[in-house]
Amino acid sequence: MMSVPRYWREIPRRTRFEGTKCKKCGHVIYPPRGRCDRCGSDEFTSYKLPERGKILSFSVVRSPPRGFEKLAPFLLGIVELEDGTRVTSQITDAGPRDISIGMPVEAVFRKISEDGDAGIIQYALKFRPVFR
């Protein structure tokens, strides 16, 4: 079970897609760090990550961890966003045969999992293919 505060405090990062930008060297960091790994500064501004990118790698997850049984098989991916930032999330609205490395994707707001019957329902961004 995840506590409500633990879920709530990540909302800016996971659902509004806010990273940080180093005030000194401009390095974009996601998920945020306490100090910049390039220049050592600890001063940041909030930075909205782009919602489009491409699939850097993916896997068809057939043996899911607990809490994701209903979803299996599902697609897990690493997405490289338009600014070069890389994130881990699920690829949705597509089957294993529909996607490939390098394919353009866009973020969509989706349910990730739920904590049984009484726990909180957890939401965040997944990515779906952009069919042009």
Binding site: R6, E10, R13, R14, Y30, P31, L56, S57, F58, S59, V60, V61, R62, S63, P64, P65, R66, G67, F68, L71, F74, L76, G77, I78, R86, V87, T88, S89, Q90, P96, I101, I112, S113, Q122, A124, K126
Partner: protein, 385 residues
């Protein structure tokens, strides 16, 4: 800093030890390590473990084991660096002896994965990753490595069969290891046709889940002849880290923590990869074995499959990799694995590896990873002439 020796070791077979508890398992390894060592007593016990709090409802492992071994009130504590916990404990023990803080230290690792029920073991192992930014999205230890493997195959145009062939080699080696969990040979088809876990990883790309314990006794090198007739020197040992998120790495296909730790350990021992006769490397998944071999400097990036086919990692090749069978066949009792590796290489250098023996091994290497490359520990052992 004082030079440090390993004067004895003991280990259990890696297995599902249904009848043994966490403390009993480590007790067996510790008793074996103490059997022929003429030590007056131990000054400290530093042990690696990852999952006891999740799977055995137990923390405070140091006190638990010191009590079970009847050696209280000595200093005793647990070190945790996920699957790298065993090597992390050895590094801490090395530092204690080298610095002069302690003289005779027992170290090693213990893991009791078979106490996990339902999906608990998978969840416990997954905790090596970033809980809020990787696991939250439904990823697991296997699927994160599947992302790396798919990216590797795409980048270097490596056939999937090459990874299967690495598993085949590991099982061929492990079939000669009396301590191995899966001591049998397999074929390429075994791997290719086994259950799909997270594409492209199938069941036989993965190290098995098992229990095990390994213990080592360390002391200053100059005192070693007093306590033992057969000892090896730890010539170099180092650890390093990388981003907790796989996605955050500039190059998904480089284990930078291994590159940095290996570089430091090689320099400390004044050797190069070419000097290494035998290596026990961390192959949780076949892809992990490939990246490890490349990043330890035994093979150019992306050339793993080519060298594997040329038998470079077998006797007569570049370096003998995992004569124990590696994590794939010997097994992977996570927090104990790094201690198994060091005990196995010590065994090789002492010429006591029986059917696993690599002929005339003088310099050996171990590499133990925590998480999907976020922590690495490398040690160089040397035969004492």
């Amino acid at each position: 800093m004082r030079k440090v020796a390993i004067i004895n070791y003991g280990m259990t077979k890696v297995d599902k030890h249904w009848k043994k508890s966490l403390r009993e398992l480590f007790g067996d390894a510790a008793k074996a390590a103490l059997k022929d060592a003429r030590v007056p007593g131990l000054d400290a016990l530093i042990v690696g473990n990852m999952c006891a709090s999740d799977l055995s409802d137990q923390n405070n492992i140091g006190a638990l084991l010191a009590d079970y071994l009847g050696i209280t009130p000595i200093l005793a504590y647990r070190v945790e660096a996920a699957c790298g916990s065993g090597a992390a404990a050895i590094l801490a023990a090395y530092s204690a002896v080298a610095s002069g803080m302690n003289d005779i230290v027992m170290t090693g690792g213990v893991e009791k994965l078979s106490d996990g029920v339902g999906g608990n073991t998978t969840l416990a192992l997954g905790k090596a990753a970033d809980a809020d930014y990787e696991l939250f999205f439904g990823s697991s230890f296997v699927s994160l490595n599947a992302l790396i493997m798919n990216h590797y195959m795409h980048t270097y145009n490596t056939p999937r069969e090459s990874f299967a062939d690495f598993a085949v080699l590991m099982h061929k080696n492990g079939a000669r290891n009396p301590y191995a969990q899966l001591p049998f040979e397999i074929s390429r088809e075994t791997v290719m046709n086994s259950d799909r876990i997270a594409d492209p990883i199938t069941l036989f790309d993965c190290a098995p889940v098992g229990d095990g314990a390994a213990a080592l006794i360390l002391c200053p090198l100059e005192d070693a002849p007093k306590y033992s007739d057969s000892f090896v020197e730890i010539g170099g040992i180092a650890g390093a880290t990388d981003t907790i998120n796989v996605a955050s790495r500039a190059d998904l296909l480089s284990l930078n923590s291994t590159i940095v730790a290996a570089d430091r350990a090689y320099k400390m021992a004044k050797v190069t990869p070419a000097d290494v006769d035998v290596a026990e490397v961390h192959d949780t998944f076949t892809i992990t074995g490939a990246l490890s071999i490349e990043d330890l400097g035994f093979c150019e990036k992306g050339k793993f499959a080519k060298l594997l086919a040329e038998r470079a990692f077998e006797p007569g090749g570049v370096v003998v990799v995992n004569p124990s069978g590696g994590l794939k066949s010997r097994g992977h009792p996570v927090g104990a694995t790094g201690a198994y590796q060091v005990a196995e290489v010590a065994m090789q250098l002492l010429g006591k590896a029986e059917r696993m023996q690599v002929s005339d091994a003088e310099v050996g290497l171990t590499q133990n990873i925590g998480g999907s490359g976020s922590s690495s520990f490398v040690s160089i052992l040397r035969r004492v002439k």
